[in-house]
Amino acid sequence: MSSYHLDHLQYLETEAIHVMREVAGEFERPALLFSGGKDSICLLRLAEKAFRPAEIPMPFLNVETGHEFPELIEFRDRRAKELGAKLIVRTVEDGVAKGFVTPKPGVVSRNQLQTPVLLNAIEEFQFDCCIGGARRDEEKARAKERFFSFRDAFGQWDPKNQRPEIWNLYNGRLNQGENMRVFPLSNWTEMDVWEYIKKEQLEVPNIYFSHERECFRRGGQWLPMPPEHADTTKPDPYDGARVKPNEDRRKLIVRVRTIADMISTGMIESRADSVDDIIGEVAAARVTERGSRADDKASEAAMEDRKKAGYF
């Protein structure tokens, strides 16, 4: 008798495909948030598995802070093209120009400014659902997320008033102006993501692999040196994020473990130059993935506060 049995990756995969098809079945205008990072790379493969041989029935959406790693942008654009998907990009800079985004004086990170840009894009295209690659194992506030995470007309998450999510029966019903965030990778861990990348032989941007890079030390992390300020007729977008004379500056062999933008991504010293090496590194890791994210260190409730305001 043959064995009808799924291993843990196959189980996580079929669960995620089911979630994606529920989105296609229940929403009028969904979008898929694709940054080019490792989690959203898995989302793309799951979308292929859920919807092929048809087209993936939703455009890709990305919000740029303007501080992105160029390698990531190149990868993102190329993958969208290869999959024949429409890619929509909205930027913090554009939001500032149009006036719906107001930077805080003295704060160089644009991480929090992504939220109003995302909400604006949702309104512009009338998206009723955004599929994202967030995982519950990333952070304590995310551990309480649903697969289908309801956002009110202001894009806000209310952790005390979430819809109960029972069995695999997701309630995707919305009123006008409301919106759903859907997270097919909810039950995946960092290790699962890399094992899936290995199993599916998925291409990832080369900044995940070790390379030589000039870095500087700030806040207990090695941050990448931002690109040169080329167009001096405009203000420097990296003003405040550039190395100061008293800061340690070195050429190191590094890679990224998690990608935000160049201002909030700590580089880790690593010789891992293959997916197998990375899996070994994750298995031996002594700090969590988001330990290298400056944006989460603000306070123990940093993520909770951003999510309530409508962050991904």
């Binding site: 098809r21 048809a54 952070e139 551990a143 109960p164 069995w167 039950n187 070994g280 002594r286 123990e300």
Partner: protein, 439 residues
């Protein structure tokens, strides 16, 4: 972390339940900590918060109580999911709170679990919460249950006390008559006794530690494999004008909710009763000869039938029930009571229909686990109701299949999820009329 690249292959989902101070979060913190699944920055964060609120002592519960209000009030207000792995297995833990008013969270956390861990405070013994949580686990059809008798250090590791509690639990278990296996383990979550490593305080206890049990309990046969159930989620029509092969492709995408399907199998589409044959099992990884529950696949049938989201494809035997009148057990999760005459939206598999409550048969009394007369169901009540749906549904009894026997009720207007329902055996199984002519 002890995990190597030859990763474990099985995934066990379990939930923890108990009343407010039974130490659930501490237990999960202990499991993560002792199995070396906690990272240095998490320990640092714990130490930082210990200095502020804990008088310098690390509080393992802070690992799981993620929201600010919870840390301040020392309670868990929503289901939190945790992930850890040992060389044997991967685990998904639903940490479900013990407050009376949060039964809905326990139902949520338990609905996808293979196993429930019910915590009992050794000093207090069995309380109403213990019965309630055990009853909910049984109602939701969780096959495996563990009673972790916690805080054994506070009763001097008394075997007599342990046996007393065990007997009390065993006296009400037969009425539930559902669990495939039941374990009792004496532990101290705070100190780690019998959580990961066996305790030297319990020489009288010959059984496994909690983690060892979680790693070894047999779960391979937890999925239902009798009679194909394939709810159609999405119709796959490429409409590709340039590729003639894809131009006429019409696939039915979904996740198998029960059983096995093979290429060439005869199938029936319900509720219409149309017959066809499986021409192809399409997947991204190539065509498959067969597929099984809970795989996600795309079926191509020989005939171009009118099939859409909400239809169910089944095999030629073990037919499900088809009808629009149902009996069900419901967990009510909303302050507005469920009452006869109320109309709701009902979501069952990939189908959402209008439904009306035609009657309430009674409410379960948690202290006796028996049905008592009632006219309505209030928040956190569990009771039996009768329902009528505007369109026929294709269903199984919940105890036969969790996926085709379950539904949720949604309030029109607010779109809130109000309750979780489990169907009784349907009154009418599907059968062909004029059977002799249609074969």
């Amino acid at each position: 972390m002890t995990q190597k690249t030859n990763h474990p292959i099985e995934l066990l989902r379990f939930n923890t339940c108990g009343s407010v101070d039974d130490g659930k979060s501490t237990l999960i913190g202990r499991l993560l900590y002792d199995s070396k699944n906690i990272m240095e920055d998490q320990i640092e964060a714990l130490e930082r918060s210990a200095d502020i609120t804990g008088g310098g002592q690390i509080n393992l519960a802070n690992l799981t109580d993620g929201l600010r209000a919870e840390r301040e009030q020392g309670i868990t207000i929503d289901v939190a999911y945790r992930y850890f792995a040992t060389p044997r297995r991967k685990f998904i833990v639903a940490d479900t709170p013990g407050h009376v008013q949060y039964t809905r969270n326990m139902v949520t956390g338990a609905s996808t679990a293979n196993l429930s861990v019910v915590l009992v405070d050794a000093r207090q013994g069995v309380i109403e919460q213990t019965r309630r949580h055990t009853f909910i686990a049984a109602t939701l059809g969780i096959p495996h249950i563990v009673f972790a008798i916690n805080k054994m250090d506070l009763v001097d590791w008394s075997e007599d006390r342990f046996l007393e509690i065990r007997e009390e639990i065993e006296s009400f278990l037969p009425r539930l008559d559902i669990f495939r296996d039941v374990k009792f383990i004496p532990i101290s979550a705070l100190n780690g006794d019998n959580v990961v490593e066996p305790s030297k305080h319990t020489p009288w206890y010959p059984g496994p530690s909690l983690l060892y049990h979680l790693e070894t309990v047999h779960i391979a046969s937890d999925w239902a494999m009798t009679g194909l159930r394939f709810p159609v989620q999405w119709v796959n029509r490429p409409n590709n004008p340039t590729d003639p092969k894809l131009h006429d492709f019409r696939g039915l995408s979904g996740q198998i909710a029960c059983g096995i399907v093979k290429q060439g199998d005869g199938v029936v589409v319900l509720p219409s009763g149309l017959r066809s044959t499986v021409k192809e099992i399409w997947t991204y990884d190539g065509p498959q000869q067969e597929a099984f529950c809970p795989q996600s696949i795309t079926l191509v049938l020989e005939h171009d039938l009118d099939i859409s989201r909400g239809d169910m494809i089944v095999g030629q035997d073990h037919f499900p029930g088809v009808g629009s009148e149902f009996q069900a057990r419901v967990c009510w999760m909303n302050p507005k009571p469920l009452a006869p005459g109320r109309k709701y939206l009902l979501k069952h598999t990939s189908n959402t229909v209008q439904a009306i409550v035609s009657g309430v048969n009674g409410r379960v009394d948690m202290s006796t686990c028996e049905l008592k007369p009632a006219n309505e169901l209030a928040l956190n009540d569990i009771g039996d109701i009768r329902l009528k749906t505007a369109k026929p549904l294709v269903v199984d009894a919940y105890r036969k299949n969790r996926l085709t026997g379950s539904f949720i009720l949604i309030e029109q207007g607010t779109n809130h999820t109000l309750g979780a329902g489990m169907l009784e055996s349907p009154a009418h199984k599907f059968r062909f009329e004029n059977e002799e002519f249609s074969i």
